[in-house]
Symmetry: C2
Subunit: 325 residues, 2 copies
Amino acid sequence: MGNSPEETEQLRKIRAGDVRTASRLIRNLEDGLPEAKSSLKRIFPHTGRAHVVGITGAPGAGKSTLVDSLISSFRSNEKTVGVLAVDPTSPFTGGAILGDRIRMQRHAEDPGVFVRSLATRGALGGLAKAVGDAVHVMDVMGKEIVMVETVGTGQQEVEIINHSHTVIVVLVPGMGDEIQAIKAGIMEIADIFVINKADRDGAAQLMNELIAMLNMAPESASGWRPPVIRIGSVFEPVPFGESVAELSAAIGDHYRRLVETGLLGDRMRRKTMVEIHEALRDAILEPILKGLTESGEMEQIAGRVLRKESDPYTAAEEIARRCLK
Amino acid sequence: MGNSPEETEQLRKIRAGDVRTASRLIRNLEDGLPEAKSSLKRIFPHTGRAHVVGITGAPGAGKSTLVDSLISSFRSNEKTVGVLAVDPTSPFTGGAILGDRIRMQRHAEDPGVFVRSLATRGALGGLAKAVGDAVHVMDVMGKEIVMVETVGTGQQEVEIINHSHTVIVVLVPGMGDEIQAIKAGIMEIADIFVINKADRDGAAQLMNELIAMLNMAPESASGWRPPVIRIGSVFEPVPFGESVAELSAAIGDHYRRLVETGLLGDRMRRKTMVEIHEALRDAILEPILKGLTESGEMEQIAGRVLRKESDPYTAAEEIARRCLK
C-alpha cells in the first residue's frame, strides 16, 4: 500500500499547486493511462474543499467571456480559481477545437489561476467522467473556486452539471432562449440565471418570462430563490463590472446557503453517486469492449448482425452471460 | 424459439404500418420493458430498408419547421415518412417537454406519416439507444425516409447522428453559427448544409464562410461535396417551396451516391457498431447498477466514499472483480 517516492512527490507537487504536474495528470487521465488512475486514487482523500461552479447555456451565449470576467472578480477578492472549459470533441479530429491558448489569455501569468480545456475521446460518456477527474485535480491544487464551462445542451451536459455545487444558466435575449433552456432541460437545475448581452432587444421580456417562471416554481429545500442577474456588453465598462461583481457575490451567497442549510451534503452525495456510476462504466464496460475489439470478436459480431444472422441485443446478452458471474 | 400468436401478430401489424402497435412498442422500449426487447429482436431481421436522415443544429435554428416542410415534399413524391423528434429530458420531470401534439399537426391525418417524440429517463446514455430502437420500428413499418431531429449539440448528439445515413446541419445567419457548428464538432459529419432563415442579415457572409471551409476540406471517399442550400422565410411561399424541394432532392442524391459507391455499407457498419456498444451497456452495466441500488449497497458505497474511507475508482474495481468472470 506504500507509495513510491515518485508518487509521494507527485501528490506533494499537486497539493502545492504545481501547474506542470497537474496538467500532466489531467492529460493522462483524459488519455485513460492506468497510472493516472492510481494517482487519482491517491489524491482523492484530499478532495472536497473547492466550490465547484457549473456554467452552462446555448452556444454563442457568451459563456467564455463571462468566465473570464468572473476570474478577475474572484481574483480581486483573493480567491484562487480553476477553470475547466469543456469542448465537445470532433468525432474526426478527436480533440478540442478551441484550446486553452485562445481562452483567457490575460490570466496566463497569474499563478492563482489555472485554466484547462477538456475534450473526450471515449465513445461511452467519457466526457462527464473526465470533467469530474479534472475537477478533483484542481480541488487538490487548492483552487478555491473551480468553474466548469460547458458548451451545448442535452443529457451529457446535465451529467457534467452533476459535478457542480452551484449551477449558472446563461441566457441571451432574442434567441428564443426561454424555449431553448426549457428544451435543454436545464431550467430546473439553475441556481443562478444570467441574462447576458442584456443591452440587446428583448432583455426585459426575457427577464419578465424568467421571473414569471420562477414565481410558479415550488420553493426549494434551501429556501434559495435563483436570482436573475443582467449583464450588459463588455464594451460598457462600468455597468459590466458591477454586474459581474453582483454575480460573483451571488455565487458566494449560494454556497453559504448550501453550507448553512446542510444541503451541501446532499449535493456532495449526488456528485459522489454520479462518480461511482462513471467509475463502474470505466471498470466494467471498458475492459470488455477493449477485449472484444482486440480479439477481433467485435468485427465478427458486427458482421453477423449486418448479415441479420444475429441482432445487437442477443449478441450483447451472450457476451453478458459469458463475462458476468 | 417459436413466437406466440400475439408475438406473430405484433410483428405482422408493425410491418403493416399499424400506428397503435408501433407507438406502444416505442413507448415500451423507452420504458425499458423486457418484452419490448424481445419484440426488438423479432423485428430486427426486417430492418435496413429505410433511409435514415439526421437533422441537427443549434436550438432555435428552425429544425422543426424544416422537417415539417420536408414531410410535405417527400409526401408529394409519394414517399412514406417517419419522424423522430428527440427532446432532451428534464432531469426533474423525466419526460419530453415538447410532445408530438404540438409538432407537425397538419400531417396527423396522413397514414403515410408517422411522427413521434422521444425523451430518455436513463442516466447512462440511454437517449442514443432509444433513438436507434425507434428508428428500427419506423423502418420495419415500411417508412422509406426516417428523419431524426435532434436538439442541441455535443457528444450525445454525435452519438444520435451515428444512427443516420445522411446528416443535415442547419445553420442560421447572425447567430455566430459558423463558430457554433465548429464548437459542436458536427461540421465534419455534415452531408448537407442548410442556411435557414436565409432572408436574414448575414446569410451571404455565412454562405461564403461555409464555402471557404468546404474548399479547404479534403475530398470525401465518395466524392460527395456537401451542398449548401439556402432556405428563406416560411412566409415567402414560392422560394421557400423551391428550396425545400432542392433540399429533398439533395437528400435523395446523397443516398444514391452512398449506394453507388458502396459507402452505404460503411455507414451501416458504423451504425451497427454503435448499436452493439449500446446493447452491451444495457446488458452488462444496467443489471449491475440495478442490483447495487436494490440491495442498498450503492448507498453504503456512497457513504464510504463521502467519508473518504474509499474512492469511486477503488470501489468500482472491487465491484468489477466480484461481477466479472
